[in-house]
Amino acid sequence: MTAVNEAKTTVTVTIDGKSIEARPGELLIKVAQDNGIYIPRFCWHERMKPVGMCRMCLVEVDGIRGFPPACTMPVSEAMVCHTDTDSVKAAQDGVLELLLINHPLDCPVCDRGGECPLQDTTLAFGPVESRFVEEKRHFEKPIAISDLVLLDRERCIQCARCTRFADEIAGDPLISFVDRGDHTQVLNFPDDPFSSYFSGNVVQICPVGALTAKPYRFKARPWDLATVETSCTTCAVHCRGAVQSSSNQIVRLLGVDSEPVNQGWLCDKGRFGYEHVHSAARVLTPRVGGREASWPQALDAAVAELKSAKNLHGGGAIAMIGGASGTNESAYAWARLTKGVIGTDNVDAQLGDGIAAEVVLGSDRAQISDLDNAAAIVLCAGDLKEELPVLFLRVKRAALELGVPLVDLSAAPHGLSKYVTHALGAAPGEQGLVAEQLASAIGGATPANETIAAATRSIGSREGNIVVILGRTSLAERDDTVVSAAAALGALPRVRFLSALRRSNVHGALEAGLAPGFLPGRVSLDSGRVHFTSNWGSVPAERGLGTEGILRACAEGKIHVLVLVGADPLADFPDRSLAKQALDTVGVVIAIDAFETPSNRRAKVFMPCTLWAEQGGTVTNLEGRVQRVSRKVSASGLALDDWRIASELAQRMGSDFDLETVDEITEEFSRVAPAWAGASTATIRNARDGVVLPFADHLGEVVFRRGGSSLDIEYSLSWEPIRADGDDVAVEASDVDETAEIDRTIATEDALTLFVWDRVVAPRSIPQRDAYALRVNVGRKLYDGGRIVAESPSLVGLKKAPTMLVSSADAARLGVLSGESVKATSSRGSITVELKAARGIAPGTASLGFSADGTGASELIDASVSVTDIRVETLR
């Protein structure tokens, strides 16, 4: 089906008298659908392999006896097919009557009622009455197959969509059919729940109400929901989704099928994390000195602090951390406020847990879809399954289904380990070194070892680009190992990078200039100085500090005002003791946040901001794709959008942005930011899959929506891939409503060159590990102590206390039993943690999850040293 040479030829088939061109091998059901002929189905799903289980799609094909299922029938030249003859209708009647034999008629109390494919299909294709008078089968009504998903086996029609999804797509075959005949049921193994990170998808694709999601159960009826298309911004993948609300409460997020981004899937943290928006812990009123205040009071108080610090000590005495959790427009407004008005370059959207902005902004970039036909994928990042779940699915698919070699530089086992074809076995902190060996082997030098030789051979035998997924490999190492890996690999001709920074809109924030040394639109402070001075009035004189430097300067008393925009350094910065020192010492904290956190608890001024689905605008994902997010519910309490807070502050500081709406910011952003040149609100609004930055290079790829800017989902279709309407190819601007104003010419008079990273890295040496110590790898977990999990009732219970994994050899050497609590001590501090012996951990190393709540690993890490070595003692 996927063979490349087939793509060129076509066959002609006739369906219901209509002559249709198709690719040979394409499935009849798909060919028919693409040509406006709907063949009913339950088990077939476009994103999964066909199984022919439900028999709903029976058709007649001339020359073939009986009724072949259209979902398993590949088209061939001159095939003549009928989907609506009397005998096909009789077959459909029969299938539906059989399916309904055991299906309870409890639609009025079923969550699927109103959007149920079985209801709809029965109405459209089924018999009028059932002849079945016997007793239906009975099962205990709903059983929990996981903490999030309930199963009502009586309603199941055995289509195997859920079990196939679990196995084929998620790689977690934790549910399967059990028993046979009329006892067949979907089930998990006793005490082994369907705890996949992707479990919510089975609820969406189940064609009946057998699978329901706990957070949505009985919350609403589909016809009462208002829907708008948006992106999930829980992590940096930005999966497309349709957010639905009822009475101003978000009740559900459905996955929307965007070919270049998420292919319809969502992870559970993204799908159910909307709950945190309605958390009772939201701060809804501004506060000054811990007491509730009005907005004018809060803004004035903040401005007073900013002005006095600036007047007394200069703009450099003010620093801002954060800005990665809002929209591009908010990030831009904050960049303009801090860099253009306050005059400080001590601004960083990352929390010392990412990689240098130079590398992210200045390297050749890949898109997510490049993974599908890459020469190889090189993993130089944390555990994608934990950090960027839906990207994990895409990489897994590329490796498993599309045969792309997976080359792994990781120092600890991770979600993709079992799909890796070339494990290069880098020790913690040595990914850079191994990357250099790999790069020189690819460049023609004699490979350092047989694994590298094998990886080089398989890369050499394939066309396409080498996609390096680049993220922070471990929070217990400085980013320099990743940076040197990027420098080594980036020098090769075919290499493209896909950033694996995970935080929400961090890429949008970096593109907006929320990083030291940068201005909006991927330009450095120096090269953009003239341009932005003329647009903004002024820019900082010299390059400032990143988060680590800011925290150090706070601790040393050099920074007087710290502005935290949705940032919680005590929880997220890898070195807790430095963060604590900084926050204990700094004079004034100004917080813009939706929740009170340990970091902002003693903020002088607290300004409540809106969250996802309360604010509209655009966001930029890890491949640089700009997509729209929509506002679905009104702001909670007195919360304001971050951009409005920035622009109010600017005005009080004597600089009027004159920006009243999100669209006006987008327009200004596209006018002044070089990477955004050529963009307009209309382009972004009408681009079905968004636009990749830099705009000018990617406008040709844009697929425009046919009309309107929001996706209108027919609720009955939520079980099938939900797609935004759009033309398959880019159309001329004049053909499209609302896109007439697109200006594709880029203002050239002040054209600036986009920043390119020079790949110069400082030489680094990795300290020797002494024989008794373990070198620890610290990675993020999906269900961590962060706000989204903590404030979403359905997710909070999924958080597990981190365990430390060691090799069984080390466990034996240390004399500890798997499951025992131990004391782990680094040069920085010690913690008590449960230890487990695990496969795949190299002797001399340990792997530990980051709790993101200010406890655990962050008490061991010293941000100034390149690796973290620990001693382990038993508590006995």
Binding site: T163, D167, D172, P173, L174, I175, S176, F177, V178, D179, R180, L187, N188, F189, P190, D192
Partner: protein, 162 residues
Amino acid sequence: MSFTPENLARAQSVIAQYPDAHSAILPLAHIAQDQDGWLTTEAMAEIADLVGTTPADVQGVCSFYTMYKRRPCGKLVVSVCTNVTCLVVGGPEILEHLNDRYAADDDVFVEEVECLAACGNAPAMQVNYEYHEHLVPEMAAAIVDDYKSGVLQPRGVSGGLK
């Protein structure tokens, strides 16, 4: 109970016979069932571990086959056919008789099965998958009693020769 060392060795040699370890699920389930008398939850989990899949997958495969017993079934599995041919010559009466007689006997598990392909000598039954044909209820009971008393040597509950 987990595999005894001998059975674990047997399991490993079975796995080695297949290019894909997954294919060894069925023979391994037989070994486990012969060892424990039924297919325990722990056994399915251990098999999953040995062949590199999830316990849910093993459960799915094994539950498809009625010859794997996922509940304790005593020492003797007595399968009485009540399909058409046996039906007309007394299969159901044999079933009823055995059911009554061994209702309180934990060693004997009587089950109703579909055609055993022994229609020529109906009615038929199997005891641990060994055929007995041309039966009447009392005769069937006598055969089961012979197995119980050791006059007849039963096979394993998976039908394998002990």
